[in-house]
Amino acid sequence: MAAFGGLFWRDLRLALRQGGDTGLVLGFFVLAVILFPFGVGPEPAILRRIGAGIIWVAALLSALLSLDRLFESDYQDGGLDLLALSTLPLELAVLAKCAAHWMATGLPLALASPVLAIIVNLDLGEIGILTASLLIGTPALSLIGSVAAALTLGARRQGVVLSVLVLPLYVPPLILGAGAVEASMTGIGARAYLLVLGALSLAALALCPWASAAALRQAVE
């Protein structure tokens, strides 16, 4: 337990001290969303219709950008060997790192989304659903992304291969998250979507650490 907490706080401390990362991710998130009115025209009705989707896609891409730093620095400086040899099981180490990554990336994205939702003309109830969907869905993004990040450690063109691997896996949370807001807009109610999204995050919590740990053991060999 001490080891889990130690790793979590260390990663969080590193993310805070290297400050730039969270700022960059948020900056990219905002820029990506702002590009769309330029591309599809500023008509409020259109933006409202596609707004939730835009914000979710931008959140996905922002999460994608921050994934390669998840294991890369440990891989480069030999810290991964230490984690592989410690008394903390590698699966729990992955979980601790993903938790710290989520707090430094996913959580800020979810908290910044209300501001962007105003730009795309969503009303108050829908903003609430959107923020809730991001809060529930971004842990899944960090966990699923950790599998791809672990698999591509040491690869040439790591960023590109990581994107090709992770984007198909990100489609289910995207469909559910954006679908939740759309369901609330059309009056069906977002509850079912949010519940399934929660189930997806829980499933990722249970399964992804095993896959990531297996991939990390390959990387360490």
Partner: protein, 235 residues
């Protein structure tokens, strides 16, 4: 009233486990290449093994194999009478592997890094603080203990990596080129630490190009275990 030692300070000496480390016929493959085959040795408590060999002969691979980071392609590794695979967690708890890379995060201070490393071994709270302070003193790092590691030289970071050996007790020390980047004084400190470790029943396996003062060390030259060209075509 503590029995003061130049390396461990007032840290109470730990009784280290007694089983012998036995390797039989170890062979290792890196990528498509068979690096070495047929390595056997027997390491009792208090003994030391010095690995020598040309570049590429597999010293780092052997150390990583002994650290269970790589699985051998053939052969067995035994901790006492128990194969290491049977209880890999217990075996790993008893070893320290210090490789080429120092594992030092540039944005943290040495004190924070050592506290993290001790927590990885399950130590926390005031017990851990005693250990980290002793480790910092053993390699003369108290002066820079609160600097961000970005400000430390390569030699100081290497000393920090080696301080891990003192911070948590472990029976087997696997050291890969530990004296690279160390100045003379610190090399002496490392040698003294090795002496005290062996005195309390620990064992050391060192791969080194440069001369290192370890008394009565068995020598293992990896050049003698390189595969012949016949092995290469058959594999």
């Amino acid at each position: 009233m503590c029995r003061w030692s130049p390396v461990y300070g007032c840290l109470a000496p730990t009784k280290l486990p007694q089983p012998h480390l036995i390797a039989e016929g170890l062979a290792c493959r890196r990528g498509e290449r068979l690096v070495f085959a047929g390595i056997s040795f027997h390491l009792a408590p208090g003994e030391a093994l010095l690995l020598t060999g040309a570049n590429g002969s597999g010293k780092t691979s052997l150390l990583r194999l002994l650290a269970t980071l790589i699985a051998p392609v053939a052969g067995k590794l035994l901790w006492g009478t128990v194969p290491v695979e049977a209880d890999i967690a217990a075996y790993r708890e008893q070893l320290h592997y210090i490789g080429h890379q120092d594992g030092v995060k540039l944005d943290l201070t040495p004190r924070e890094i050592l506290a993290f490393w001790t927590s990885l071994h399950g130590l926390a709270g005031s017990g851990a603080t005693v250990h980290t302070e002793a480790a910092l003193m053993a390699f003369a790092l108290e002066g820079v203990a609160d600097w961000p590691c970005r400000w430390l030289s390569a030699g100081q970071r290497k000393r920090l990596a080696l301080a891990r050996l003192i911070a948590t007790p472990a029976s087997i020390w696997l050291l890969d080129e530990p004296t690279s980047a160390l100045d003379h004084d610190n090399q002496l400190r490392l040698e003294q630490a090795i002496v005290e470790h062996r005195a309390s029943g620990g064992r050391v396996i060192v791969a080194s190009h440069t001369p290192i003062g370890i008394a009565d060390a068995a020598r293992l030259s990896l050049d003698a275990f390189a595969p012949s060209s016949a092995d290469l075509t058959a594999g």
